[in-house]
Amino acid sequence: MTITSSYFLLFVAIGAIVYYITPKNWQWLELLFLSLFFYYYAGTPYTVIYLAISTLTAYISTMIMQRERNRTECRRAVLQMAVFIALSVNIGLWFILKGRDIWSFFVRGMQEHFYIPQVDTLLNVQLISALGMGYYTLQIIGYIVDCYWETARPQKNPFKLFLFTVYFPQLTTGPISRYDQLKVLYDKHKFNYQNIAFGAQRILWGFVKKIVLAERVGILVSAIVNSPETYTGFYSWIAILLYPLQMYADFSGCMDIVLGVSELFDIRLAENFRNPFFARTSQEFWQRWHITLGAWAKDYVLYPLLKTSPIIKIGKLCRKRFGKKAGKFLVNALGMFVLWLVMGIWHGGLKYIVGVSLWYWMILMLGDLSAPFFKKVTLFLHMKTDSFSWRIFQSGRTYLIYAVGAAFFNQGVYKGMAMLLDACQVISRKNYANPWIFFDGSILTTGITYRDINIILFTTLLLIIVGCLREKYGCARIWIKNQSFLFRWFIWIGLFVFVLIYGEYGPGYSAAEFIYQGF
């Protein structure tokens, strides 16, 4: 059961109706039941055991911590041991199952030098990981650490904690929620028309992004990526420049569905996107893209790391040796390196670490280094840095930087690099440019039609308009809500019909999995 299927919508509709007629004290139990039902049909049922193990370790460790704190003399070592064991079990389990690409690479390397036959058997065992493991593991880690830091009170009911792990809308693709934000799961929820309307609208908009836009752009991008020898020159540009759009429509569309579904149950989840392509710098981009992952890594990796005494000592040493600014920059670079490394590892593959994490880390550091220089240049040339054209230039530059990393993300380091080099040859190699592909119909050989192209252009325009409304009003739905009755319904019915007619679904067609579902 994928979240774009009609079965899922039916499941959600029935679930929501039952939810509001269930006695309020039992609502959380119904959510738990729905989540397990969803897991049974969406994942490999027995893997739910991994979620149970995670929950149980978190439960036991936090209970030990609480008991220890209630003693007259709290032993710090016990607290630390409880956290250490719980985190090790969760990280270890995740790493064995999801980090296979990373550890098998090193184990294979070791095998070449010291061959152990049993290890080969180990390498060949195919283990099935749990659904949404990357997401719920981070949530559970956050919960354990929050209890250790005393920013959250431990949940005494293990089944309630289990609901925090398995809550179905966000299980497969996030957002990564904090325990504090999700405590509303256990509250009593009254039926509210506004929630249902807003939730449904958001789901609809998610469908527009996913099955109208992302699926279509996907046709074009995959055709080019799958046969790079046929599609060269400007085709490479198309694939490189359109993949971020596909990924955004796919991932943020999925988030719209997830947040919308959750809103139907009166549970607000954290936003994962805030118009990322409006960002003017790469730094800002990452504050607007996959926000909950970045925030998680900042709070639970970067901050604790930079507060450790070895790093503080290194910082002092660097400042002494290289001066205040350079010293600060070096510590900054080190912290960011670890942060990006962790995010790369979380994605579970070497290509993400090398191609994506290293690339963005390098770009961010270069940005930091060159910022004073560019500030001087813009001042010297009297550039109007607040003008519309300058903003467009900055956003375009940020998009391009993201697109390069996204090419690695999509195709791996070698293929991504080959495509980027091919795209560069349009400029550097004589007679290599093939601009006629845009006009002579040869683009249709990728399997896309002119109708598809028009729909892509129209939906992208819609996306930009909604983005502008969101920048200005915080949320496009609120703006629409304040419009006249006729206009409002025209928009929603129009969008609904648009999805019905132009959505890629139905018998014989199965929407591609969400890009971010695998983590």
């Binding site: 920013t151 901050y303 930079l306 507060k307 600060k328």
Partner: protein, 80 residues
């Protein structure tokens, strides 16, 4: 230590780390009000504050403090 004394020393730390002598902190000052106070500088400031006052601010407080007023409250409490 009075609140005023804490503010005086805190202003010094912020001015030094963010390289801006015009910084003047108040109870309601939040990160957005101060140029350069981003999520990265936040932790540098915390470390700077720890060095200045000579105690460790617990991680739980680091991630939850909402404004300078809360930071001062924490310092006063830890400095007792």
């Amino acid at each position: 230590m009075t609140r005023e004394e804490v503010y005086e020393r805190l202003n010094g730390v912020f001015r030094d780390i963010l390289d801006d002598d015009t910084i003047e902190l108040h109870d309601e000052t939040v990160a957005d009000d101060v140029d350069g106070w981003d999520s990265f500088e936040h932790i540098n400031l915390v470390v700077g504050v720890e060095e200045e006052f000579g105690f460790k601010i617990p991680m739980g407080k680091v991630v939850t403090m909402k404004n300078v007023g809360e930071m001062v409250d924490i310092i006063l409490e830890l400095g007792k």
